[in-house]
């Protein structure tokens, strides 16, 4: 677990690192994250040369490849602005594993410096922006799935629910075993598909049994997994990235 983090005052600008899954599959979620930040009066810098944090290679054991990809991202944030990432998984990679990945290399110092500026989006909205939300949506029962990386690697079990709690018309329901993994785990879902399937099956069942009409999450891997399972079951429960959900209900 990361040590207690001291948060900076709300900055004038931030960098936004969209992540590859958002880039390719959920670009609206990324844009909604940017809109939420801009609405707080923050200028959002989007380094055009960003690609992927390197986590897929890292967790697959391809260390050199991960390091090369990560090194390419390290140069994207030259000014001392915070780096906001709409994913606990990629955020955890950058905050926790970048310093490990570059330990003993020329880039060690820069990796630690960058890592120290990385914030997951909901974390940033709660602890730095002190975001206040006014709900304009219809009444709805929602379950939050906090990704394992956000929950354990970044210590952010509370920030997503804290934001949802501000939405007056939203009833946050808690699914059984909310802290349990949904079974995504990056390449785990492809290497151990049956085990992963058993896990996501339990997750969708728990969310449905909690009476949720929708689940929100701050990680697109979990969304792809849980949402894909719901969709295949032709369940009425939909998934939405928390950035889109917050933006949609408050704009």
């Amino acid at each position: 677990m990361t040590p207690v983090k001291l948060y900076p005052p709300k900055p004038e600008k931030v960098y936004f690192f969209g992540t590859c899954l958002v880039d390719l599959f959920y670009p609206e979620a990324g844009l909604d994250g940017i809109r939420l930040l801009e609405r707080e009066g923050i200028e959002v810098l989007f380094p055009e040369d960003q690609t992927c944090c390197g986590q897929p290679a890292y967790t697959s054991g391809y260390q050199q490849e991960a390091r090369a990809v990560a090194a390419a991202q390290l140069g994207l944030f030259p000014e001392p602005w915070p780096i906001v990432v709409p994913s606990g998984s990629c955020g955890g990679m950058m905050r926790t594993h970048y310093p490990q990945l570059f330990a003993g290399t020329d880039l060690e110092e820069r990796a630690s410096e960058v890592a120290g500026r990385v914030h997951e989006l909901t974390e940033f909205l709660v602890h730095v922006c002190h975001l206040k939300l006014e709900d304009r949506g219809e009444p709805e029962k929602v379950a939050m799935h906090t990704s394992c990386s956000a929950r354990r690697e970044m210590g952010l079990a509370e920030t997503g629910p804290a934001l949802l709690a501000q939405l007056g018309q939203v009833e946050l329901v808690e699914q059984a075993r909310a802290a349990e993994c949904c079974g995504f785990g990056g390449t785990f879902a492809v290497r151990h598909p049956e085990v992963s399937a058993a896990m996501v099956e339990d997750k969708t069942t728990a969310i449905a049994e909690a009476g949720a009409q929708r689940f929100v999450t701050s990680d697109c891997g979990c969304m792809m997994n849980i949402g894909g399972r719901f969709e295949q079951q032709k369940s009425p429960v939909n998934g939405e990235h928390i950035a889109s959900y917050l933006w949609r209900r408050t704009s």
Binding site: G18, C20, P27, F46, E48, A72
Partner: protein
């Protein structure tokens, strides 16, 4: 060391992880038994640490284990010297085979025909029962769970609760079949029956074999943690007691024991304490009326000194074998202990077994984790299990330090090419943008197959446009109308 192969015993192999997982997942009884048990254990653990400064205690536990490992060779020598001074004979074994031979020779020197065993995972690891049986020596497990598993010709499915894969009805059936008890759901009846059956065996046993939870260098003391009393029986009733343990189980001081014991019982079963904490420092002394006349300690290496060489892998040896990592593992909970095909299942097994058996045997274990981090979060001595799983994945694909047996076993030209391709794209931003803007291109980069994904879920659909493109448009809009739409809407 090979996969678990005890004659007549149902065998599982880590090579067959996928098939065994498939079978377990398809067995509703197994699924239900593990789910129920793990749910209970997680709740009990949480409750048991209620009024403790858990993080401070874990910090101390980790620190004690690190200190012991830092001084390991000195402490082993100190332990040996103090044990010998107390009258405990100390033996050293390079591997399980050698350790088995030492135990067998001790048995043979007493013409022993019957061995009674307390719970010992190291003896499971070295397949001691099979070895003794080949020499015509019967080895009977006395921990109730181990006894039931042995009756059922199986191996343990959990390091603390060996029979956790069986429910009451199944156990009743096993006891009825093998020992002639009535079929019943009465747990007290079955427990009393086992007590009766095993008491005869304790009295008849020539040698008692136990494990060790902590070996204290300072005093030459062997500590055993248990609830049943079979550990005390095993180490007190037969005339000879042989304790087998891994070389990493040593701690420096007696005062190091209380914090580790507090962590162990709470992490393992959510108990604030176990019924017995049994500390043995010598055989029966002149004038004493019971206890074994001989006590032996067998220190087993079996790959541990190789793990010891590496700063990162070293953390594996901190383990105090509480099983909390498996109790909290969503994979273990789904597939159960036998699926792993190793003595130590679950997360700790996946970071330990590759060193004991080689990555070629165990290559599917380090990947059998979603890296959810639950194991690392509950580990009482703060072993960074997820990081160690990643390290072993690195070793498997030949990008580690090469100091784990079987390193590089999973390296294939195809996969390397795929990751090199990923690296090239992700380090060439304009190519990346060009690639990602053409929806679906990235599919080619998905490792192995995407096939199984869609057996259970719909395929992820590329959005057609990318965030890069959306941001570009968004920024262009904003620069055309300084009071952007979003800002207007907010007011």
């Amino acid at each position: 060391m090979s996969a678990i192969q005890t004659p007549g015993v149902q065998t599982y192999s880590p090579r067959e992880f996928h098939r065994q997982a498939h079978d377990a997942l398809g067995n509703p009884q197994i699924r239900a038994n593990f789910r129920k048990a793990m749910d209970g254990l997680m709740t009990k653990r949480r409750d048991s640490f209620g009024d403790w400064e858990l993080e401070t205690l874990r910090e101390l536990g980790a620190n004690i284990r690190l200190r012991a490992l830092a001084k390991l060779p000195d402490l082993l020598e100190q332990l040996e010297a103090n044990c010998e001074a107390n009258g405990i004979k100390v033996h050293w074994a390079e591997d399980g085979e050698q350790a088995c031979r030492i135990v067998r020779e001790i048995c043979e020197s007493h013409d022993a025909r019957s061995v009674i065993k307390g719970k010992s995972m190291v003896s499971e690891e070295m397949h001691l029962n099979a070895h003794l049986e080949e020499a015509g020596i019967e080895a009977l497990e006395s921990d109730l769970g181990e006894y039931l598993v042995q009756l059922n010709e199986q191996t343990p499915s959990h390091i603390i609760m060996p029979a956790i894969h069986l429910n009451t009805d199944e156990i009743s059936e096993i006891m009825h079949d093998k020992t002639g008890t009535e079929r019943t759901r009465d747990v007290d009846y079955m427990t009393a029956a086992a007590r009766q059956q095993l008491r005869e065996r304790f009295m008849a046993a020539d040698v008692g074999v136990s494990g060790v939870n902590f070996a204290v260098a300072e005093t030459g003391t062997l500590c055993l943690v248990e609830n049943e009393g079979n550990g005390r029986m095993t180490t007190t009733v037969p005339p000879v007691h042989v304790a087998v343990t891994g070389i990493e189980k040593v701690v420096e001081h007696l005062r190091d024991v209380p914090p580790l014991y507090a962590l162990l019982t709470r992490s393992a079963t959510g108990q604030h304490v176990t019924t017995y904490f049994n500390m043995i420092s010598s055989p029966r002394k002149e004038g004493e009326h019971d206890g074994p006349k001989e006590v032996h300690l067998v220190l087993v290496d079996s790959g541990r000194s190789r793990i010891y060489q590496d700063d990162e892998l070293l953390d594996t040896l901190r383990c105090i074998r509480c099983g909390a990592c498996m109790n909290h593992c969503p994979v273990y909970t789904r597939v159960g202990g036998h699926t792993y095909g190793t003595t130590y299942p679950g997360p700790i097994g996946s970071i330990l077994s590759p060193h004991l058996m080689g990555l070629d045997e165990t290559k599917d274990l380090p990947t059998a984790s979603s890296l959810c981090g639950a194991c690392g979060e509950v580990c009482p001595v703060k072993i960074p299990i997820p990081d160690l799983l990643v390290r072993l994945r690195r070793e498997s694909v030949g990008e580690g330090r090469g100091n784990v047996p079987g390193a590089g076993v999973k390296r294939t030209r195809k996969e390397v090419a795929a990751w090199k391709g990923f690296q090239w794209l992700a380090t060439h931003p304009s190519a990346w943008r060009a690639g990602t803007s053409v929806a679906g291109k990235l599919k080619a980069l998905m490792p192995a197959k995407l096939g199984p994904w869609t057996d259970y879920r719909t395929a992820p659909k590329p959005a057609g446009t990318t965030l890069h493109a959306l941001v570009k448009r968004h920024q262009a809009n904003k620069s055309h109308q300084p009071n952007s739409k979003s800002h207007e809407e907010e007011r």
